[in-house]
């Protein structure tokens, strides 16, 4: 789903470092973004997402490193000489100007003829789904509507780059889901290269072509949502995106680890034998035995010929479309696992707290990382 990687990138970030006094907020960040791509900067609070976005915008210029936009070196240019539109978390709509005047704010300055401005404003309001709200003031609009006005204002001058800093975080869940869809749709239609900052992984997974996961000022991993989910390169990524079981283990070979006395086969890795590691597997990848020839997610069982473990079902939590079951057992050496089981499977297997079952950990779904120093 990623755009053509061989073409010249639209935005090229090279060795970007940002310091606030002695504090390094971004450390040697490099990233290429293609034209028309929708990229999400994702990461925990304070990791430097906003700092990177503001450096790209020229609002807080980086300490070191270069930025190229459309082949032009913009590294030290002030915001006013760059080409972007921006939407802030607060929307920053001008409260004393009505919606039309907010949207046309950047057009009036360009000495565009009046009639043309009017058509353009109407077109933009249509585009964001607010065709009859032009005369209202921002205070008279709902949060979601204000958000769309801010979007229209940012798009009015047809910028080459659209920057969104947590545009949805001030909205309630339902509006947020709806607007996710709207923004993504709009972005596809206009084909404008877009960078969105968010700390909500679900938002990033559903909207982005590519996710840039940032942690403590450095990029942990860049990839498509499925790559990030399926192929996390570090324990941090594995932990941050989606739910993940994590069990301390010993490395016994390049394809297996040991938990207590239990040996578990895993994907090939390059960790030193005998060292401490962390075994990870997603709850939905755990396969309860006795479901016939098929894993619950439709995987053929043959591919999942991994370790078999006897466990006891503990608490079960109903999460709408599936159950999350807590599993423990003697062979797990005091650790617990969480497994997602479909409603059908629960019924078929008559799963309930206290029941003993056997589960399988498919080799291709078991990934091992080095044990972090701090843990």
């Amino acid at each position: 789903m990623t755009s053509n990687q061989t073409a010249q990138p639209y935005l090229k970030i090279e060795h970007l470092t940002k310091r606030f006094g002695s504090f390094t907020a971004l450390n040697d960040v490099s990233l290429d973004i293609s034209e028309g791509e929708f990229v999400c900067f994702l990461g925990p609070s304070g990791c430097g997402k906003t700092t990177l976005l503001r450096a790209i915008a020229g609002l807080d210029i980086q300490t070191f490193g270069t930025l190229l936009q459309g082949g032009r070196d913009i590294s030290g240019l002030p915001a006013a000489e760059r080409d972007f539109g921006i939407v802030f978390q607060s929307y920053a709509l001008f409260p004393n100007l009505n919606v039309e005047k907010n949207v046309s704010y950047g057009l009036v300055n360009k000495k565009t003829p009046r009639a043309q401005i009017k058509t353009r404003v109407a077109e933009l309001l249509e585009l964001v789904g607010l065709p009859d709200q032009g005369r209202k003031y921002p205070a008279q609009l709902s949060g979601g509507q204000q958000q769309r006005v801010a979007l229209a204002r940012a798009l009015a001058t047809s910028p080459g780059l659209l920057l969104l800093d947590e545009p949805l975080s001030a909205l309630d869940a339902k509006v947020r889901t709806y607007l996710r869809h709207e923004i993504k749709h709009l972005q596809r239609r206009l084909g404008v290269t877009t960078i969105m900052v968010t700390h909500d992984q679900e938002e990033a997974l559903t909207m982005a072509d590519r996710i840039v996961l940032i942690n403590e000022g450095v990029i942990e991993q860049v990839g498509s949502p499925t790559q990030m989910y399926r192929e996390p390169r570090t324990l941090f990524v594995a932990d941050f995106i989606g739910a993940m079981n994590q069990l301390p283990c010993q490395i016994t070979s390049d394809r297996a680890v040991k938990i207590g006395n239990l040996e578990i086969a895993c994907r090939t890795h390059e960790l030193p034998i005998g060292s401490n590691g962390v075994l990870t597997i997603r709850p939905e990848d755990i396969v309860p035995r006795g479901l016939g020839g098929e894993g619950q997610n439709g995987r053929p069982d043959t591919a999942a010929a991994g370790a078999s473990i006897d466990v006891t079902v503990g608490e079960m939590e109903f999460l709408g479309s599936f159950w999350r079951a807590e599993l423990s057992g003697a062979s797990l050496a005091g650790n617990k696992l969480e497994a997602d089981v479909s409603i059908n499977a629960v019924q078929r297997m008559d799963l309930a707290p206290g029941k003993n079952i056997t589960i399988e950990l498919p080799v291709e779904r078991v990934t091992v990382f080095a044990k972090p120093a701090a843990l």
Binding site: A25, D28, A57, T63, T66, G76, P78, N98, Y105, Y137
Partner: protein
């Protein structure tokens, strides 16, 4: 996210300044230069004058030695502190009870009582002094109440200062008392804490900073005030009047400078304490607080009402006495009423033209002062980078608060009347009066502007930059309209203070630019006390009229903009 050194490729990025950055920095430099010219250099000239002899030779601290070995001079320090401390204790106690009634009771007429308590702000400080002469002077109507003591001296000064500083203390304490968090009181009630104990363990600590601030503001106002002790001080010398006597009476400018330096010390000390306290108070406000809503209590509300009515009655009597005195033909022999005392043309002091001068001066001060203050505050608050210059301007903007009006006025003589100063052409003109008044009242105006600007979304400027709209356009189209209430507040504050001030302008007016408040002082000096009262009353009504206009304007503005103002 570590502090360790990172391998870095290439040199630090040199950011190019946008035209907006240049404009904003230009303004900051301009405002900074303005402050240097209007505050820093004059003060420097005054300090150096205090170390010179009559011929301008540097003589170190000799003048100070002379000062401290002349009892007639340094006794004033004692006197000033005595007056300031006693007045502060009385004012803050009275104001606290008054503010408590306004915020913590359910008594009747809170709005009315608040307005009455603010009325003294509209009058020059001479007015209460003149009223007290009519009440308690040698021919006063109730002078028996003083039990044989004279009003001309500490008693009169203290009474006048209490009247003059009460609204300042009350405003600070009302703010402090109304930011109380109801949840703490509910907790106290649920723990069955006694009312008295709640007062000492919850209320007082909660308004600690407001109380300290009120104390220091009142102290500074009293110790630097000139009008009241001048009119009613008799032989009781205080520092501010000493400066006047040295400069106007004896033409001893060097000694005037020495007394000014002496007066600067307590003013700066009080100023520093107040700044520290203000900073702490901001941090003490939490966002989740629930406003306290008092419950009705007949006995308490009745007591509070009686108290406020008494204070309001005294304030109104003092104002009323000045008005009455200004209308009486010839006190106390001919009590028929008329406007003969308003015939200022017959008196010393410049006649009605001094009143129109005052109006003009107040108008210019309001217009130019607001423009300078608001633009300066905007640039300091919103410019990017340029930290040192912004910090310097911010400091210079706060500094005038610490400089007593007399001291500033005298410093202006030394600086602007210096033969080598290319600006000495403005000496004796309307311009210098406007400049000194703007400077004297700069700090409060600046802080008001900063408060309003800090409430604006900091990203307005970022959005404008991304849309390639120049900053001055956003300033005029968004910032100014949104901040209009604060801008009106600043201009009205400057106007009223320009109308009533005496201390800042007393050394700087010329025969062509005599002002109403100065004229009142001079008429009183010449024994024309009734016309002096008439001039004070004229000022009072002018300020009152402008205040009412301000209220109407604000209401109209509110109506027009309520569509977009978030409630």
């Amino acid at each position: 996210m570590s502090d360790q050194a990172v391998p870095v490729s290439g040199a630090e990025v040199k950011s190019k300044l946008s035209s907006d950055d240049w404009i904003m920095r230009g303004f900051i430099v301009a405002v900074g230069l303005w402050m240097v010219l209007t505050v820093l250099l004059p003060l420097y000239f005054m300090l150096s004058k205090s170390m010179q002899d009559h011929d301008g030779n540097f003589i170190g601290l000799t003048n100070f030695t002379t000062y401290f070995s002349t009892p007639a001079l340094f006794y004033s320090i004692n006197n000033s502190f005595f007056i300031a401390i006693v007045s502060t204790i009385i004012t803050v106690s009275l104001a606290f009870t008054y503010a408590y009634a306004l915020t913590r009771s359910q008594m009747w007429g809170k709005g009315l009582f608040k307005t009455i308590a603010l009325l003294p702000l509209l009058a020059p400080s001479l007015l209460p002094a003149i009223s007290f002469v009519y009440f308690f002077g040698n021919q006063g109507i109730i002078k028996g109440l003083l039990g044989g003591h004279t009003i001309y001296g500490p008693i009169g000064i203290i009474m006048g200062e209490v009247f003059y500083t009460l609204p300042h203390a009350m405003m600070i304490l009302v703010v402090a008392l109304s930011t109380a968090d109801a949840r703490i009181y509910e907790a106290a009630v649920s723990l069955r804490t006694s009312t008295l104990r709640t007062f000492f363990t919850v209320t007082l600590p909660g308004i600690k900073y407001g109380l300290i601030s009120a104390i220091f503001v009142v102290f500074t106002l009293v110790i630097t005030d000139f009008g009241i002790p001048k009119i009613i001080g008799g032989k009781f010398n205080v520092l501010a009047v000493d400066i006047y006597k040295q400069v106007i009476g004896q033409q001893n400018f060097e000694m005037g400078a020495v007394v000014s330096v002496v007066l600067l010390f307590p003013a700066i000390a009080a100023f520093i304490v107040d700044r520290i306290v203000q900073r702490k108070q901001v941090a003490a406000l939490t966002s989740g607080a629930v406003p306290y809503a008092p419950k009705p209590n007949r006995l308490f509300d009745g007591l509070m009402l009686a108290y406020c009515a008494a204070i309001a009655f005294i304030i109104l009597s003092i104002l009323g006495m000045a008005i009455y005195a200004s209308l009486v033909k010839f006190w106390p022999y001919n009590l028929t009423l008329g406007f003969s005392n308003y015939d200022f043309e017959l008196m010393d002091g410049g006649g009605w033209s001094s009143f129109s001068n005052s109006l003009r001066m107040a108008l210019y001060t309001a217009i130019f002062g607001t423009i300078i203050v608001f633009t300066g505050a905007y640039m300091v608050e919103k410019a990017k980078g340029f930290g040192v210059a912004r910090g310097a301007v911010q400091f210079l903007a706060i500094l005038p608060m610490a400089v007593p009006g007399m001291v500033l006025g005298l410093a202006y003589i030394f600086f602007f009347n210096h033969p080598d100063n290319p600006l000495n052409g403005i000496y004796g003109t309307m311009t210098i009066l406007v400049i000194v008044t703007i400077t004297h009242f700069y700090t409060v105006s600046h802080l008001t502007a900063m408060t309003a600007l800090k409430q604006m979304d900091p990203e307005f400027e970022s959005v404008s930059a991304s849309l390639k709209v120049p900053v001055h356009r956003t300033f005029l189209r968004v910032t100014v309209p949104v901040c209009l209430p604060a801008i009106l507040d600043i201009s009205i504050y400057l106007f009223v203070n320009a109308m009533t001030t005496v201390s800042a302008v007393i050394f700087l007016y010329s025969t062509d630019t005599s002002l109403a408040s100065v004229a009142a002082l001079n008429m009183d000096d010449a024994g024309d006390i009734a016309p002096a009262a008439a001039m004070c009353v004229t000022i009072l009504f002018a300020c009152g009229g402008v205040r009412i206009l301000h209220v109407l304007l604000t209401m109209g503005l509110h109506k027009r903009t309520q569509a977009w103002r978030v409630r």
